[in-house]
């Protein structure tokens, strides 16, 4: 799991089929391919169902996929933290409530407390509010982590208690009211036409991603040569770099194909004093800010998990807590840090979720814990501990959200949605068990 930077390319055997040889050469994770396949199946399935039954395939449209990306952000951000929690054999049932609590704290700050102090619309308001929200989450997480680590109360119980405590606390802070509207700049963090970076910005992001893919491939070759490890075949490296670039450019084309709605364009042109052309203006959304936050969190968390001591200790504790302790790792402090990080990410998700709704309510994030855990588990994080990936959890979040969105689009009612999502979770874990048994 942790040795992705220096795996040894195994020599293909003559008996291997072309697909097996391809997998060995590229060292692609079969699980990753499986998840992307499942995702493609879900997307195409919903699209075709819509096209055939409702005469309108709404799923594979720039608009839907753009919205899907935004809706995935909040769950995805928290799922990256849940991976660490589950790898270390813990669980966090409180993230939805912590999200709600952080959201109302930020709501109170930016609606009632800061404007009288700083003046309405002061540029510092959104920064202070967002930081306060994330800090709140981190503190809540640290408290729960300390109870787990030092008082030896099982994480299941501590966070089950937290599920009720922080939801109740959110109600008390908000006095049961909906707090809105949030600060204008703050609202951009939730996406929407203004909360996206537009066509040019998206091309810059896409270009950077492309450059990163090429750099990582070249750097990988250089590292392997330096230590005389087996190199991937040139065609396999070229394929991987090209694939990375293609995904980045494809994503840019997609988000740029979704234009602002007419109303927003009109508002924008009036404000800017531009003459509205005859056929209307085509202004691309580009990547939504919450999606960029998710991508940034995903990259940082991947680096943290795979390239730092902290991440190595997370895996070690999950693999054998006693061995980790004997190796001199302060496992208790690690538990506190992991839960604090989880809380911090719940706070960040609260920023995205409340900004997206332009309001904070004490009910925000209800049931999120289940989606977050499901996303991590569908993404291949083992509840037995020791195994998990960040990209898996983000893909898992995308799968969960795709199912939800898809069912809404084709008109399934809420009851059926719950039945399907629940069944898929159980099915996914069963498939995962089969996969692990086979790969042993």
């Amino acid at each position: 799991m942790t040795d992705t930077s220096t795996p040894t390319a195994t020599k293909p055997k003559a008996s291997d089929g072309p697909f097996t040889r391809f997998l060995k050469a590229t060292e692609l994770d079969t699980r990753l391919i499986g998840m992307v396949g499942a995702l493609a199946l879900i997307w195409i399935g919903f699209h075709l169902y819509g096209a055939l039954v409702n005469n309108f395939g709404a799923f594979l449209t720039p608009r839907n996929l753009w919205n899907l990306s935004v809706q995935t952000s909040s769950i995805g951000i928290m799922a990256t933290g849940m991976v660490l929690v589950i790898i270390t054999r813990h669980i966090d049932l409180s993230v939805g409530s912590v999200l709600g609590f952080c959201a109302v704290v930020m709501g109170m700050l930016q609606v009632y407390i800061l404007p009288p102090l700083l003046g309405l619309g002061h540029p510092l308001i959104w920064i202070i509010a967002a930081l306060a929200g994330m800090l709140t989450g981190a503190i809540v997480g640290a408290i729960q982590g300390s109870l787990i680590a030092y008082l030896k109360i099982p994480a299941f119980i501590v966070t089950l208690g937290g599920l009720l405590v922080w939801r109740g606390a959110a109600f008390l802070v908000a006095r049961g009211e909906t707090i809105s509207p949030v600060d204008e700049t703050f609202a951009l963090l939730g996406g929407g036409p203004y909360g996206a970076i537009g066509s040019t910005g998206s091309w810059i992001v896409g270009g950077l991603a492309c450059a990163a893919a090429i750099f990582l491939t070249l750097n990988g070759r250089r590292q392997r040569r330096k230590f005389k490890f087996a190199l991937r075949p040139v065609w396999a490296d070229t394929f991987l770099a090209t694939l990375g670039c293609a995904v980045a450019i494809g994503a840019v084309l997609l988000v740029n194909a979704y234009p602002w709605p007419k109303g927003i364009v009109r508002q924008y042109t009036e404000r800017q004093g531009i003459e509205m052309p005859e056929g209307g203006l085509f202004i691309s959304h580009g990547f939504a800010i919450p999606v960029l936050i998710l991508v940034a969190v995903g990259i940082l968390m991947t680096i943290l998990l795979n390239r730092t001591r902290f991440g190595r200790y997370v895996f070690a504790i999950g693999g054998n807590p006693e061995a980790a302790e004997l190796a001199g790792i302060n496992t208790r402090l690690m538990t506190v840090k992991i839960f604090s990080l989880m809380g911090f990410l719940a706070g960040l998700s609260a920023v995205v979720a409340s900004a997206r709704l332009n309001s904070a309510t004490n009910a925000l994030g209800t049931l999120d814990e289940l989606y977050v855990i499901a996303a991590a588990v569908i993404g291949g994080t083992s509840l037995a501990g020791g195994v998990g990936t960040i990209y898996g959890a983000i893909l898992g979040a995308l799968v969960m959200q795709s199912l939800q969105t898809g069912m809404v689009l084709i008109g399934f009612d809420a009851a059926i949605q719950q039945i399907v999502v629940g069944s898929v979770l159980v099915l996914a874990v069963w498939l995962d068990i089969l996969y692990r048994r086979k790969s042993k």
């Binding site: 040795d3 230590f227 004997l326 190796a327």
Partner: protein, 253 residues
């Protein structure tokens, strides 16, 4: 070999109790450079518990530990490691989901100047030391759960040897091994001895001990029965110490 000068390790009057049961009861043992001291006794005699006080896994309730004549405090495994005390645990204490290099460097990872893990360097170092200890070892990319008992053992040994241990604790190092691998461990013990390490060897296989050790300390019910030079005693006398808790009669010699 005569033991003169300062012992490498001296554990004086160590006691530790778990909920009223005295697991180790006023036991003193010592260890000189280039010496292998065997700790013998039945299961539950307290040998592992005693030695865990030295490796930092437990803290003694009473008693002192001296390393090179200096009194030291060992409160956790990190302290033990800072005194160049390395331990090969009976359970091996490997994280099964990590590969050999990650296990070898666990808690002491090599990092790049920017503070990130230097996995390539760690793997290269692991290849070097494994080549010396177990030339057949090839599974560097697999998690250690995929390794055989002997291979896992060699990872655990490599971890103890790599970091310039002065004092090595081996808890039942051959319990789970086949004849070939047992031989590898014995050869390693001899080699390390020549290099001047002191080794505590915990075992309940008396033949192991008679072959590898210079002295034996026998424990029973948490107490030290006695410490003898292997050359002075017979197998039967040692067995008598283990089973009956009785010192050989002419031990004063």
């Amino acid at each position: 070999m005569e033991n003169t000068g300062t012992p490498l390790v001296e554990m004086r009057d160590i006691s530790i109790a778990f909920g009223g049961i005295k697991a180790v009861d006023h036991v003193s043992v010592d260890l000189y450079p280039g010496e292998v001291v065997g700790l013998l006794g039945h299961n539950g005699a307290g040998k592992s518990t005693l030695i865990k006080c030295l490796s930092g896994a437990y803290q003694a309730d009473a008693g002192e530990i001296h390393v090179n004549g200096q009194k030291v405090e060992i409160n956790n495994p990190r302290d033990a490691r800072s005194h160049n005390i390395e331990t090969i645990y009976q359970t091996l204490a490997l994280a099964d989901n990590l590969d050999a290099a990650s296990n070898l460097f666990l808690g002491r990872e090599l990092v790049t100047p920017t503070g990130f893990l230097d996995d390539a360097q760690m793997e290269a170092e692991t290849r070097k030391i494994m080549h010396r200890l177990n030339p057949n070892f090839q599974k560097f990319a697999d998690p250690v759960s995929a390794l055989s008992g002997g291979q896992r053992q060699s990872v655990a040994i490599a971890r103890a040897v790599y970091f310039n241990a002065k004092i090595l604790i081996m808890d039942e190092p051959t319990a789970a091994l086949g004849p070939q691998e047992t031989k590898m461990v014995s050869e390693l013990v001899q080699e390390l001895k020549r290099q001047g390490l002191g080794i505590f060897l915990i075992s309940h296989d008396i033949h192991d001990v008679m072959e590898l050790c210079d002295r034996v300390s026998v424990m029973k019910n948490g107490q030290l029965v006695g410490t003898e030079k292997v050359s002075d005693v017979t197998d039967d006398e040692i067995l008598g110490m283990i089973i009956l808790g009785k010192k050989p009669e002419r031990s004063a010699a």
